[in-house]
């Protein structure tokens, strides 16, 4: 058996899903190169988090997308159990307000039939309230799709990465691939800002930058990704409008649907907007005034009432990697041999990710003539960090007796204990990443609450500084340190300048 050295470019949901699937076999020796300091900080962090039923994918225009989306929906139901990922499966309602909108919504019934999506049906006004009490009573009806779910997308990336790494995958962060090396029509490795890595197979899962990486390998030269921004607003957990189901507006030719959901963490979230940006604006995650007012307006069409803007605790934006004609570029090349594109994975990429991973493997087997050998010792399961927030007081009491650190609350708003934070730090270190306050936040949700970290950020930073034995000021928040130095730094430098 030939052992292929595989480098996956990008640790987003696509890259880590492929890594997990490849880690099941003896045939591959997998590394993931990620330019950010942690996994999942690209598109996969900021999106609507929906596992789509796939009745919205046109099977004629986008057959691959439709198929993989449908498959992905089913695989996620397994993966969230195997990997202990926070998920809910409440079903969704596509709300319509007019006969034109109804016509548009009904179009998806035929897609549902062709895509084999179960249970899709129209619900009319007289019954809507019993499906969803928070729905706008003016809505004429809604298209119901019971298999819609949602997950915590950043936790999903973290969970899959942890599992893949346990099964032998190597993660290299802070490493930007700048060149694909090719000899005799075969890939031989990549150059990065931290040296080069040899490889027999290079899988491009670089999200917003997948066109750049593809061009490095000299393939798909006319393939360009256009960023399209989507903004969101998140409300305080305490607001009384908390839809049980996933709600969204009916898409029109000019506007994409806007969602109103209660996230897996328990907050009302409204979004996204859709705004095309210049081709090079790939870091432009700015929130805008227009975005805010648009979301409040659209939210009002879906919900019987939108909570006041004063209850917004967070706003953020994500960037969609819009490929030409909306077409995913999934291809395994023989020239150069060993190069694989998984590029332009726009929505429903989160839903399809596990299916895409399986599909990529299948293509590779065929094109590269690989005979798979299963690992005997592959670990299927991964446990999430213990969350005391979800425990009864009795269970918490038992846990604290085993480990008193569960009894020390660091994040008030979301009831996160010191033990959870310490465990998150350990797990970050274990996958080869440098702990940051943001990394801890995405693993524990400390700082996600209504105070947005003003009570707990310094305490988390203190725990990191003690764990790493570094001064508090050099603990990294997201990308830069907490402080410039000790509090007397500037005065001392003045002293030096004088003498």
């Amino acid at each position: 058996m030939k052992k292929y050295r595989v480098v996956i470019v990008g640790a987003g949901i696509i890259g880590v899903s492929i890594a997990r699937v490849l880690s099941m076999y003896e045939n591959f020796d997998v590394s993931i190169a990620e330019m950010e300091p942690d996994v999942g900080w690209g598109i996969s962090k900021a999106n609507t988090s929906i596992i789509h039923p796939c009745h919205e994918e046109d099977p004629e225009r986008y057959p691959l997308r439709a198929r993989l989306c449908r498959e992905g929906n089913s695989i996620w139901m397994e993966w969230v159990k195997e990997l202990d990922i926070l998920a809910r499966w409440p079903g969704e309602l596509m709300v319509f307000h007019s006969s034109e909108e109804e016509r548009e919504a009904r179009k998806y019934i035929s897609f549902a039939i062709k895509n084999n999506v179960p249970g899709v049906q129209v619900i009319y006004r007289d019954e809507l309230q019993s499906y969803e009490p928070t729905i706008n009573p003016d809505a004429e009806g809604a298209l119901y799709a019971p298999t819609a779910g949602m997950i915590s997308p950043f936790e999903a990336v973290i969970a899959i990465a942890e599992n893949a790494i346990e099964n032998g995958v190597k993660l290299i962060v802070d490493t930007r691939v700048s060149n694909v090396k090719i000899t005799n029509h075969s890939v031989v490795g990549v150059d990065t800002n931290r040296g080069s890595i040899d490889a027999d197979i290079i899988i491009n899962a670089a999200g917003l930058y997948a066109d750049h990486v593809s061009h490095m390998a000299g393939v798909a030269r006319s393939f360009y990704i256009k960023p399209r921004r989507g903004e969101y607003i998140v409300f305080d957990e305490g607001v009384d409008i908390k839809p049980k189901k996933i709600l969204h507006t009916t898409p029109t030719p000019t506007t994409k649907g806007v969602y109103a959901i209660t996230t897996v963490h328990g907050n009302l979230m409204i979004g996204p907007t859709a705004e095309d940006l210049p081709v090079d604006a790939r870091e432009s995650r700015t929130t805008t005034e227009n975005g805010l007012s648009y979301l409040l307006k659209e939210g009002g069409r879906i919900l019987n009432r939108v909570p006041p803007p004063s209850k917004i605790i967070r706003r953020f934006a994500g960037l969609r990697p819009e490929p030409p004609q909306g077409e995913w570029l999934i291809e395994v090349y023989t020239d150069p041999f060993g190069f694989v594109n998984v590029a332009g994975i726009r929505s429903p990429g989160l839903t399809a990710a596990p299916a895409i991973a399986n599909y990529v493997l299948k293509l590779m087997i065929k094109k590269y003539d690989i005979t798979l050998v299963k690992k005997a010792s592959w670990v299927r399961h991964r446990k999430s960090i213990n969350r005391i927030r979800e425990l009864s007081l009795e269970r918490l009491d038992e846990l604290i007796r085993k480990n008193p650190s569960y009894g020390k609350i660091i994040c008030h708003c979301r009831t996160v204990s010191e033990a959870e934070i310490l465990e998150a730090i350990d797990r970050i270190i274990k996958i080869g990443v440098k702990p940051t306050v943001d990394g801890v936040k995405f693993r524990t949700t400390a700082g996600f609450g209504k105070c947005q970290g003003s009570f707990c950020r310094w305490r988390i930073a203190l725990l990191i500084s003690r764990k790493l034995d570094i001064p508090l000021h050099s603990v990294v928040i997201k990308r830069s340190p907490y402080g410039l130095g000790d509090v007397k730094l500037l005065l001392r430098s003045r002293m030096v300048n004088k003498t």
């Binding site: 000790d486 509090v487 007397k488 005065l491 001392r492 003045r494 002293m495």
Partner: protein, 130 residues
Amino acid sequence: MNSSEIISGAKEELICIICPIGCSLEVYRDSDDIHVKGALCPKGIEYAKQEFLDPRRVVMTVVRVKNGDLPVVSVKTSVPVLKKCINDIMMITASIEVVAPVEIGQVIARDICGANIVATREVKKINNCD
């Protein structure tokens, strides 16, 4: 930038801070005396003269601590010092480091610009063996 929106540190115009009315005071000196305009009461005149001739402040900051349960201790000057001394005091607090334990009220540095620098917090000593 519109400078009228900026409250700048002009010398002759003061806001009285003695009571919440906050009279706008004008202070000027002629050949032999100091004059104050705009005060509604004598306390304001007093304040203006003091601020004009001899403005003083209590300075408070922190000083680094070795082997403490906190890395800094808060301190203040024991009495108000001349405004122009603020910088000197700050420079001195930047150059010293005290060793824990520190008691509240402990003198950290003596007789600087006519004041002592005293601790306003307690910092305990930690065992450095863990």
